[in-house]
């Protein structure tokens, strides 16, 4: 099944007359930055999931909220679909354009409107980069906690759309835990505020509903995020293991000891070697697994916890334990992990990054399952893992120039996600469904559940003009996907119960 929008199963798209729409937009918004020539559209034909490309009908780059509002009103009148895009770093094709739709790029709405140290919040436009918020808050000893690996480039609007995570989620939460308020423009061009400057607001929690809704319910034009006081001190312990199962057990033991680390990351041997070769972080290349455990907070508490974690790691069978001796070494330990994806990119012509989550106790089973699948498909898999919160990032190594390898990688990826669902996990922890995992949604949710999602969508976007074809599959698609998965008259995982 093609990943690009397939009108036969993803729903018909309206036919929009490009030149008339173009005229209308320029007439109402003479100053609007607008791209429509083929060569200008090319840079926008994909997001971070670059294997899939479609040229949009038009690209608009508004610089004010008023412009966004007018664009939405015009597109609504025209019945033109709108795909929102921030920095375009998303890994699931959530901002993949459609041929019949306008690509609404919010990157130029990039102003930090307010840093309020007394209220511990920052009010920013959606195109502001994640890291820029922490940088602007740093003079006040504050920061914005969620830190996706792409934080130097990704925009906060995209973070809201995807409910982005990072390496510090277990302790500090995802985007949804760190928002106070968003302003949105509805599909009809209305201005709506969700959440408030207080810790809660009256009515349904629409702020939670919108977070992670992948541009399907409205366009985010302003975000108020919570800021946290920067921990006084952060220490990182690196533990090596000769067996990945032992490393997984150690994670459970740390938590059983009553400690919630700021970050708790695991890498397998293939990922360790790739990262070490690239970053020279000082990783032990012969280890089967390493754990990076960061403890942060008040200095004396961190010292106390480091002692406890060290002894837990020793008792869990770590072959070596090393504490970053200074800030430079701590940064280096993290640099290896944060650059694991590009590092793997150096050892393989292409790689495909997955984003499944599992209950941690299933780690050994799932890794064994991935190994079996990897052999079956003849493609190597490197494993990087937000161990604390059960979010796996298996990286499938392949060569797109070899005929059929991309399809094989996709099929293997799909199998890995289905395995995650089977053990009680999810097909996506932080990258989102987008277009990439649209089929696997059918394995995580049944038709009735998917219909509820469509009902939610219909409450905000009855004509399905916002990001059509993403996030929630049509029942038609699930039926096709189901057929594809029935082998010898049997459903996959016939023993499957819901978790």
């Amino acid at each position: 099944m093609n990943i690009l929008h397939d009108e036969r199963i993803d729903g018909k798209l309206p036919r929009v007359n490009r030149s008339v729409l173009l005229q209308e937009l320029t007439a109402h918004l003479p100053g609007l930055h607008l791209l429509h020539k083929d060569e200008d559209l090319a840079p926008y034909e994909c997001d971070g999931l670059s294997a899939y490309r479609t040229k949009p009908l038009l690209v608009v780059l508004p610089e004010t909220v008023d412009q966004v509002q007018t664009i939405m009103k015009i597109c609504h009148d025209f019945g033109a679909p709108v795909v929102a895009r921030g920095a375009g770093t998303g890994l699931s094709g959530g901002a993949l354009p459609i041929e019949q739709g306008v690509l609404l790029v919010l990157a130029k709405l990039n102003k930090i409107l307010e840093i309020n140290p007394e209220g511990r919040f920052a009010r920013v436009q959606p195109g502001v980069r994640n890291l820029a918020i922490s940088e602007a808050s740093a003079p006040y000893g504050l920061y914005y906690a969620p830190d996706p690996s792409s934080q130097i480039a990704c925009s906060i609007g995209g973070n809201v759309a995807e409910n982005a995570g990072g390496v510090h989620c277990l302790k500090y939460g995802l985007t949804v835990h760190n928002l106070l308020k968003i302003n949105i423009i509805t599909v009809e061009g209305e201005f709506l505020t969700l959440g408030s400057d207080a810790l809660d607001s009256a009515g349904f929690d629409l702020l939670a509903l919108f977070t992670g809704s992948e541009g399907m319910l409205g366009i985010v034009v302003e975000v108020t995020v919570k800021l946290l006081p920067k921990p006084n001190v952060a220490k990182v312990l690196m533990a090596s293991f000769d067996d990945i199962g032992k490393a997984g057990q150690a994670v459970g033991n740390i938590i059983a000891a009553g400690i919630i680390p700021g970050g708790l990351e695991m890498m397998d041997n293939l990922a360790i070697k790739a990262a070490e070769d690239f970053i020279h972080a000082g990783y032990p290349i012969d280890a089967q697994a390493i754990l990076l455990c960061e403890l942060d907070g008040v200095e004396s508490d961190v010292e106390e916890d480091c002692q406890i974690v060290r002894s837990v790691l020793e008792n869990s069978g770590a072959t070596a334990i090393q504490m970053a001796k200074d800030e430079a070494e701590r940064q280096r330990f993290w640099a290896g992990r944060k650059n694991a994806f590009p590092a793997v990119g150096r050892i393989s012509p292409d790689y495909y990054c997955m984003d499944g989550t599992i209950p941690r106790r299933e780690l050994s089973n799932v890794l064994t399952g991935i190994q079996t699948l990897s052999e079956e498909y003849g493609l190597a898999v490197a494993n990087v893992f937000h161990a604390g919160d059960g979010n796996m990032h298996p990286l499938i190594l392949f060569d797109a120039n070899q005929p059929g390898e991309l399809e094989k990688a996709e099929a293997l990826g799909g199998k890995i996600l289905e395995l995650c669902v089977k053990v009680g996990g999810s097909i996506t922890g932080e990258h989102g469904v987008g277009r990439e995992k649209i089929n696997q949604m059918c394995s995580q949710f049944n038709n009735d559940e998917i219909e509820v999602f469509h009902a939610v969508k219909a409450a905000f976007d009855p004509k399905t003009l916002l990001n059509p074809g993403k996030n929630i599959p049509t029942l038609h698609r699930c039926a096709e996907f189901g057929k594809m998965h029935i082998h010898n008259g049997e459903l996959p995982f016939p023993e499957l119960e819901r978790f």
Binding site: E118, G119, R120, G141, N163, C169, G173, L174, V176, E190, L192, S196, L199, D200, A202, G203, F204, D205, L206, A208, T211, P229, K230, G252, I255, G258, G297, V298, E299, S300, D301, E304, T357, P359, R360, R361, S426, T428, G429, H431, V433, K437, M441, C442, F445, N446, D448, E451, V452, F453, A455, V456, A458, A459, N471, F481, H485, I486, R498, F499
Partner: protein
Amino acid sequence: MTLAPSHTAHDSPYRPGDRPTTTSEALLLEQVHQAMAEKKPLSIQGGNTKSFLGRPVEAPVICTKSHSGIVSYDPTELVVTVRAGTLLSELETILDEKGQMLAFEPPHFGEQATVGGMVATGLAGPRRPWSGSVRDFVLGTKVITGQGKLLRFGGEVMKNVAGYDVSRLMVGSYGCLGLITEVSMKVLPKPKHQQHLSLKLPQRDALAYLEKWGQASLPLTAACFFNDTLYLRLEGGDSSVKTFANQLNGSEIDPNFWVSLKEQQLPFFKDSGLLWRCSVPSQSPVLDLPGEQILDWGGAQRWLKTSQSPEAIRTAVAKLGGHATSFTPGITTTPFHPLPNLLMRYHQRLKAKLDPSQLFNPGRMYSDY
């Protein structure tokens, strides 16, 4: 009664629809189906401890209390899955035995308080500004929908961004979007050390201190002010708690103070008067309204006893960027802060889509849905 297969047919070619897992769940589903057939609404009730909140619902009661018990609890996963009718006190005891807790300290308002009611009302206690609220800890729910289907959203994993976050939407929706039968939540280890202190000082100084402390990494997890006294709870490692306590030089107080505060057992709450909950930005000045006030959540939640009109209270609170909820039944027909027209329209649309026949708790939140 048969538990399987349920009416939710195997309509997905790929995976089966959900079935009730217990007789009590099957009974709830059956009651919902019967109400649907008779075209009659239902008033959802757990332990009946929080029914004084919101607007009265004129409908037969569907009671979740018999659907109780812990479905699964793995302390090292930091996740517990509980049936809606489970007593909140029972859940807290079980977590306590493993050195864990519901970090948001939900108020019970009575011995019979259930987990379902906790989720439906979304109320949180003194630790809320530091730990997060109920919605921040809900990972998944099993819900009987307005279409009479038993469905699951979210799950038992910490991170899950597949589909819309229907589970968190359920939190604080007062049963208006569906009947919660089961909930999975993140739990946390209990703090290693605690100290409970009070300091005598005027409110202006208290607010200034709270603002300053909020910007520093300190082991503070509760802050409340009234009667010229600032009550503080320090939690964390032994030495950080001691260091901060020494710096504060306050008087030690009974740790149960925090329970009395969240359960509204302090004399302030027991004495007569019309009670309002005002949720405001924490740095807001003292509310410019006559009557008595307790400042909780480090300033972000103000309990107000006043005879002022709902309109006057709401105008004052909205000016600060907040909202006000009546905690005394019968004094207003809009106990929840009125919503702007456009926002109300989207609430109505959402309700109409998820509960098209107005089956669950019609009018509980607003007369509009």
